[in-house]
Amino acid sequence: MSGLPFWPHQASAYSGELDRLAIAFTVLVVLLSAPVFFLMVVFAVKYRRGRAANRRHPVNQRVGLEISWAVIPFAAIVVFYVWATRLYFEQHHPPSNALEIQVVAKQWMWKFQHPGGQREINELHVPIGRPILLTLASQDVIHDLYVPALRLKQDVVPGRYTSLWFNADTVGSYRLECSQFCGADHAVMGGYVHLMSPSDYARWLEQAGIDMSLASQGAALFRTRGCSGCHGAAAAVKAPKLEGLFGHEVPLSDGTVVTADEQYIRDSILMPHAQIAAGYPDIMPTFQNVLGEDDVLKLVAYIKSLAAEPPSGPRSQP
């Protein structure tokens, strides 16, 4: 490392654009504030008490001036507001072809699960050149996944899934950190993101040593935890079918209709009494104290993988 670090690495095109925004806005900030510094010094010297100067007709009020120096800077700032808000909105709309990585944060480590079932702790290997979508879940308190080189962070909130996506373009290893205070070892809850070329990533996947894909691990849990006892084909109990559930609409017993996304599936497993599917009894037990967030993510992956029976459309009651 030569010299003093002054600026973080840019690992993606987005990082570059954000830096341009930050620098441009800093220039505006300097333009708006430099006159104050300059004039204060000039006036303090020129109009120093006892010094001869032209103090005729000092002004105490000039409404036009007041309004212009309020409105004009504000208008300039709004330009940057539009730019920054656009980037922010883009960050909330991940592209559909993203590689999905499941992330579980817990005191005080990061667990990453690739779709093929590869697991990592505190290190994340991903390819450059394609969108990566991280689904974030917390086992305990609020954490925050932060990768300075990507200029991105997102709080990981217990009780819900949050997400973060990026498309990196520079090979290398970059720090990742927890940036929401989470207790004793918050300051050491970090790791690295390893951005690799697609071929290197493929090689890494092969030797990462897994037995099953995420969805297959979920299928195994589905059996061992007894889910198939009610939701399986031969079940005696009336329970909603899960084939083709993901992404479709589910009528609830209170008359509302929700879409079965990851959050819905997670909540159905951990807080089944919160939302009851219409026409079904409220008898599903909770798995709150039985399954951790990473297990739930596997089950979600499994249920997502279950093929649809009828074509898309609102689910009909059994």
């Binding site: 708006l32 104050v36 109009y47 032209n54 920054a84 300075p148």
Partner: protein
């Protein structure tokens, strides 16, 4: 400062008597109206209560400062060698809790606001003198709870007490700390209540709203926030305690509750709270600039109105603390826009102060230097707030040292500079003694330089990606941290200096006439220090605030 005449009551036969014997004014002052402990601890005189607060906030400033010293020493090395992980967490939590609630919020309002508002409006005291004293006792009790937390192991949640960490996972004295803050909140509420009623009802004849000093306007706006926002903090802390003690959970996700609900409630108070911390300072600076320039503040109504606008819009921007917390992107967009709006009135003030200096008669005395230091640091801090308000930029620098640098520029570079500026400006009025100006100038300069050295590197560290609340960091960032800690030691020296020369002045400083600076304001029409009842006769005002002669001959001496 005009030449101070030698004390004409000094013993003329003793050349060493440099004014140590008291003037008749000093013998009749509020300081001399009763010597017993009872006359101090059961006083209802707003001026004595202001001094009680002065001592108390100074004490807590140093306790919080010691925590800051521990933090900066620990950060000298990348490993975190001084404190354990848990110890460091307790240090920064305590630093935040003490500095926010026991120093920054009460510092200017409860010392200078208490002392000066009745004098500035021509009243004999605040509207509710006994409530004023009660407020001090409540503050002290809250402070004692906090000291108890300190010795009983501390609290480790950060001053923000985020759930579910605070409600369900943290091991420290969370309930005790929440109780301490809950208690001191009532002191805030009583102060705000007192100021509002005082300013409405106790203005002397002729003192219309348009003739009030801008210091009073700022405190009025601050008081509105104090009474409306603080109760929300109280109920939020009560809910955390209920969750921790009884399992009553609305923030617990395992019960179906929402951790984000806590953040909304907490920031609904805590964002206006930062305006509680800065509005009084803005009022002080208006006074210091007008006094230094011997000229009315440019655009009086714009500056007065900007205080009210900051108070009002300040209630609408709390969500900018939650851009990456999981709130909806549309909420983020709205809060971001409003956060830009709230910067406008602050900008108006700064530009107006600069315009005030134009064609003024500027004295480069300590009050001016502190005000200039304030303006220089506040402008920078405020504009970095705009940087943070930009949504995409915040996604990078939220919860990093960038944020820490931003708020310290405003709180320390701003409020603390203004606090010391007020101290140096009104010291002669409060104690009847003047101090050596050169030391005040040195302190102002040391503060400006030390402060920038401490906190400017933190902007760089933040953008580099150093999260806040970390005492372990990559070795390549050490240089910036060492620079920052060096600056902090300079600041520490600067803050200790006034203890020497100001306390020295109490005994050896030349006595002060009523108006040592030659400035406008009702407080400068009474003796220094003022008598207990402030005014022998109720003043009648028929002139504007900052009633300086406008047209002067070229080169005229002030």
């Amino acid at each position: 400062m005009t030449d101070v005449p030698a004390n004409k009551h000094a013993n003329p036969h003793d050349i060493r008597d440099r004014g140590l014997s008291e003037t008749p004014e000093q013998r009749a002052s509020y300081l001399r109206a009763g010597h017993t402990l009872r006359s101090w601890f059961l006083t209802t005189d707003h001026k004595r209560i202001a001094l009680l607060y002065l001592v108390a906030v100074t004490f807590f400033f140093f306790v919080g400062g010691i925590a800051a010293a521990l933090i900066r020493i620990d950060l000298l090395t990348p490993q975190g060698d001084l404190l354990s992980n848990e110890g460091y967490n307790r240090a920064f939590t305590l630093h935040g809790v003490i500095m926010v609630w026991f120093f920054l919020i009460p510092s200017i309002p409860n010392t200078f606001g208490n002392f000066l508002i009745p004098l500035m409006i021509g009243a004999k005291d605040l509207a509710f003198p006994r409530l004023n004293l009660l407020g001090w006792y409540i503050y002290v009790i809250g402070g004692m709870f906090t000291l108890f937390v300190l010795v009983a192991g501390g609290v480790d949640t950060g001053w923000t007490f985020y759930t579910p960490l605070s409600s369900m996972f943290a091991h420290g004295q969370v309930v005790m700390a929440a109780t301490a803050v809950f208690i001191v909140g009532f002191s805030s509420i009583l102060t705000g209540l007192n100021f509002i009623v005082t300013i409405h009802k106790l203005r002397c004849p002729g003192m219309t709203w348009g003739r009030l000093p801008l210091f009073v306007w700022s405190h009025y706006a601050t008081s509105l926030i104090l009474v409306l926002a603080t109760p929300v903090l109280s109920i939020t802390l009560a809910l955390i305690a209920a969750e921790r003690l009884f399992g009553l959970g609305v923030f617990d996700p395992r019960l179906g509750g929402d951790p984000l609900l806590y953040q909304h409630l907490f920031w609904f108070y805590s964002h206006p709270a930062v305006y509680i911390m800065v509005l009084p300072a803005l009022g002080v600076v208006s006074e210091l600039i007008a006094a230094a320039a011997r000229k009315p503040v440019f655009g009086y109504w714009f500056v007065a109105g900007s205080s009210m606008a900051i108070a009002a819009v300040g209630f609408l921007v709390w969500g900018h603390h939650m851009f990456v917390a999981g709130e909806s992107m549309y909420a983020g967009a709205v809060f971001s826009f409003l956060s830009l709006v709230v910067a406008v009135p602050s900008a108006v003030k700064v530009y107006n102060w600069t315009a005030t200096l134009y064609k003024g008669q500027i004295a480069i005395d300590p009050p001016f230097l502190f005000a200039a230091s304030f303006i220089g640091l506040f402008v920078f801090g405020g504009l970095t707030g705009l940087v943070l308000a930009m949504l995409a930029i915040d996604m990078h620098v939220h919860d990093t040292y960038f944020v820490i640098a931003h708020f310290h520029y405003i709180m320390v570079g701003g409020t603390v500079s203004a606090y010391f500026g007020a101290l140096h400006f009104w010291w002669p009025k409060m104690f009847g003694r003047t101090y050596p100006m050169v030391w005040g100038r040195i302190m102002a300069l040391l503060i400006y330089l030390g402060f920038n050295l401490t906190f400017f590197p933190q902007f760089i560290l933040g953008y580099l990606g150093m999260p806040r609340r970390y005492h372990v960091y990559p070795p390549e960032w050490q240089v910036w941290n060492v620079l920052s800690s060096t600056g902090a030691s300079i600041l520490g020296i600067a803050y200790v200096l006034p203890f020497v020369y100001l306390i020295w002045s109490l005994r050896y400083g030349p006595p002060s006439p009523p108006n040592p600076w030659g400035v406008t304001g009702l407080e400068w029409t009474v003796p220094s220090p003022p008598p207990k009842e402030n005014f022998a006769e109720t003043p009648v005002v028929d002139y504007p605030a900052y009633n300086y002669p406008l047209e002067l001959e070229e080169g005229a001496r002030g």
